[in-house]
Symmetry: C2
Subunit: 336 residues, 2 copies
């Protein structure tokens, strides 16, 4: 399996991208990593690290797309950027998956324009693995379609179901509709239109799920438009971060507390790990004719490594083929 990693993308690149790739190579002997980016920069970061040289390739790409560039414009102009070059390798069959912690918009635009969507898919979705007390939940969509239509959400449900089956090994994923009340008639125009149609789908549809219940693990897949999904995802991140800050302040406020806290170091570490996005990999872009994973912009090496394993499962599980078959068999459900 050949995985291309955008060595230049992300707040902490290229250090953490190179480190993450090297760590993954050590654990997974069946993958080859292709680092795309400025060759001499990557080589410098690799120097001194020990890794299997037969399974690490560098592909030179001189340009870098930043977060403040208009995505579509940037990918048209910067043909020699790490994102465009990496995505093209997936399109051309030179690699099985592309991972980037760079500009979400640019990764989305490049993937959609270059790799293209699966026949029958209206719009790809940027899904996100979110931590819950019972293990991860996949929120679809969290970043691609802010003004989604009912048909989009129906397809997101199918995407999420297939993803959780083949990538996460969940047998009969519980698919919930993100809503502001549990009752079927609750919600905005979009969710009210989607609810009865989701009931007709061959899915384990568990009805509306309130945002309050998502962190409790009430569903395996949460379907939503990208605006609501993004708000949910970011609120969770922000709340976890704010609570950790508050807890730290309290624990460090007196000497006695500091001593007691020391005895709980292991407990706090486990606690933190449970809601650590670094363990969950990145956000898969689902609905394309290829595997693309968007890692968090602030990824550390561990998060990059997790994203690589995730991409490997994406490829191993034949997500693209399974989704293609599924969407084809359900084609009469869409286009109302």
């Amino acid at each position: 399996m050949r995985i291309v990693l955008d060595a230049m993308g992300g707040d902490n690149a290229p250090d953490v991208t190179v480190q993450g790739a090297v760590a993954a190579l050590a654990k997974r002997k069946d993958i080859t990593m292709i680092l795309v980016g400025q060759k001499e920069v990557i080589e410098e970061k690799l120097s001194g690290l020990s890794y299997d040289k037969d399974r690490l390739e560098i592909v030179d790409a001189r340009e870098i797309i930043t977060n403040d560039e208009a995505p579509v414009f940037a990918i048209r102009k910067k043909k020699d950027s790490s994102i465009v070059v990496g995505v093209k390798m997936v399109r051309d069959g030179q690699a099985d998956a592309f991972i980037s912690a760079g500009s979400t918009g640019a990764v989305l635009a490049a993937s959609t324009i270059i790799i293209k969507t699966i026949k029958g898919i209206i719009r790809p979705a940027l899904a996100s693995m979110m931590p819950t007390i019972e293990g991860p939940v996949l929120a679809v969509d969290c970043g691609a379609n802010v003004d989604a239509k009912p048909d989009h959400l129906l397809q997101f449900a199918v995407m999420g179901d297939v993803y959780m089956r083949v990538v996460q090994g969940v047998e009969n994923p519980r698919v919930g509709l993100l809503n502001i009340g549990a009752e079927s008639e609750k919600g905005n125009e979009l969710t009210k239109a989607v609810y009865p149609r989701l009931q007709q789908m061959p899915l384990n549809f568990v009805g509306n799920v309130e945002a309050r219940d998502v962190p409790n693990g009430m569903a395996d897949v949460v379907v939503c438009d990208a605006f609501a999904g993004n708000v949910m995802l970011k609120t969770m991140e922000g709340t976890a971060c704010a609570l950790t800050t508050l807890l730290k302040r309290e624990l460090m406020s007196t000497t006695l507390r500091k001593i007691c806290a020391l005895g709980l170091k292991g407990a706090f570490k486990n606690f933190k790990a449970k809601f650590d996005y670094a363990e969950y990999g990145g956000a898969p872009l689902i609905g394309l004719n290829g595997c693309v994973v968007k890692a968090h912009g602030s990824s550390n090496a561990r998060a990059i490594e997790s994203a690589i394993y995730q991409a490997a499962k994406f490829v191993d599980g034949k997500l693209v083929e399974t989704l293609r078959t599924q969407i084809e068999s359900l084609s009469d459900q869409f286009g109302e």
Copy 2:
């Protein structure tokens, strides 16, 4: 000041409503509490409690509206419900404020239909005080308008600004637009349409605020449609709850940890209080010709008590009058 409290509303009513009212009477000598609901039930809960009998009245209302009843239908049918009777007292000038922990939909419908909106206000908003590490933020709207239009959001911004000034005493409230990116061109159709118009308003508009930054206290007022606001509010609640559960599990896992945790009891208590909705009162319904506060359905006595103080500040600050003047002076900004 006369405050009507729906004695029958909420998961833990009438115990906590009666207890909350009695606690508030002890602390605020300038208020009279009117408990509306089934007289004999309220009297029974009051028996044994000590309070100033001159400042507590009971108004009998035989019916109770439950959460599963269709709001508009319920308030039309149950004219003798605690919600309808209580709201009418505000309309008729027999009371200055109404508080209920009962059905949100019924409180909203009854208030809008009976008390009516301030002239010029298109739709009232259910705002919510959310905890942050820097003190509370007001999210408007969190429950009333799921399919909001740009004009609604502009008015929510004005409502939030006035509320934070007169009720919370914030001098120049920072008003942010809940969005999925910080840049002005980010967002869905709604936020993109609202952004430039918010810039034209006489407000301290601080631009887009991502959900991740809300718990860090990046704004005093966060403007959003009720769907997004509800998702943000409930995600915060759910995440705080899930994290507390996880932390407890870790702290109770070994005897040594239990002992260390005992030494940190005070720290954990302070930590919990910071994100405890019970300290923040309820959700004010803004834009009506009167003061209505919706307390959390699962309110305890402390939360009811906080909601009473909040309603008192709402009345003291002359929110209705201030908002009326402000909306009138800005009337040329709306109706595009």
